[in-house]
Symmetry: C2
Subunit: 247 residues, 2 copies
Amino acid sequence: MELLNKHVSIRKFSDKLIDPDLLKSIIYSGTRASTTGNMQLYSVIVTKDTERKQKLLPLHFNQPVAKNAPVLLTFVADFNRFSKWCQYNEAQPGYNNLISFTNAVIDTSLAAQNVCIAAENNGLGICYLGTTAYNAKEHIEVLGLPKLTFPVTTVAIGYPEDTPELTDRIPVEGIIHDEVYQDYDKERINKLYAVKESLESSKAFVAENGKQTLAQVFTDVRYKKADNEFFSAKMLETIKAQGFLAD
Amino acid sequence: MELLNKHVSIRKFSDKLIDPDLLKSIIYSGTRASTTGNMQLYSVIVTKDTERKQKLLPLHFNQPVAKNAPVLLTFVADFNRFSKWCQYNEAQPGYNNLISFTNAVIDTSLAAQNVCIAAENNGLGICYLGTTAYNAKEHIEVLGLPKLTFPVTTVAIGYPEDTPELTDRIPVEGIIHDEVYQDYDKERINKLYAVKESLESSKAFVAENGKQTLAQVFTDVRYKKADNEFFSAKMLETIKAQGFLAD
């Protein structure tokens, strides 16, 4: 619990390299996560090579953490391997569809989280790069991903250079619903987000961006509707191109 | 690592109830998982009530584990709460799209896995029910889920009545790719799946179902193309109905 509860994303790594056997044993812990029908619908691409990292860097919008980490682990939803097994064993796979894609995305995420926890338990630090799904198309090219695969997320991993403070979360009561979903009125929302809004870092965010509210920093700067729509259209095309959705 | 590596799904639970404070602290550990832009794109619906469980049971295809568990936790991808926060703070949310849906599904899965690990660390046992996404539409009705939410997965949770053996996995080398994806030829596949195919339980599966290969048990019995297509079409409609994808 302690380990889970003190998790912080690490964005600066030391020069110390990760022992290959340690890396393998951490990824092994990923494979012990629950998986749909024990099909293990994921693959992990290990990027250490400087040139290849250079190609991935713009796909992560040049975030310094991506450059700084000694290793990038790209977690790929993978129905290719399982389908190949079927084909080589006189079985006709039928996994070129949305429910199979979804099962693979969930499997992949659970495995990734186990890898992160195992890494932290071994003194390593991690940072998820959510940019992977945004630029799935280009990841597919750079990493040579075949049909029936889809890059879901990337974990930057290495030995921490610094130890940031624990980040805020809304009170846990705010995400728990007893028996049925209790929708949020203004009063409840204000209460849940009061601490987040009162943080000095939040106030600085609002001021730096010339906004009135913290929410506007999200909607107008960080996660904008126009960007979301652009990347959603691109993603839909990529899911289709990878064979998970008919035109 | 030990905890992660010895994980087994528990399908039989004792009568012992889960202390509400323990349950809350376990869910709190879920909120410490990494989350996209610290938006916490998830909610957890706690089902204890016998009548409501009775309604959920057929949505999990009457799996005994769903009936047997004292608590079901339904993990819901949730952009409703965050969007409400935006609306109440003079900000225009733009999260009714596929990339936002995907971010929420990943956030939700990472939180769920943390909850499972925290649960096991406290002597509880868990079993994921992948059926949730298959019957998302009906879950939305029974749990009263609003637009911009989507039920991703359910965790059955309680004190273990038995301790099953560790299940097989393919060798970890089979999921790791060095720098670029190495596609699988017949020889590599045969090697990776040799242990799985040689298990007594696998052989029994093949025989019971009157099949020639283990792969055929998956394609012809457990995860059939026709079923996948049926549930994929249903899921696509539900994603649209929940406001995450335009028609």
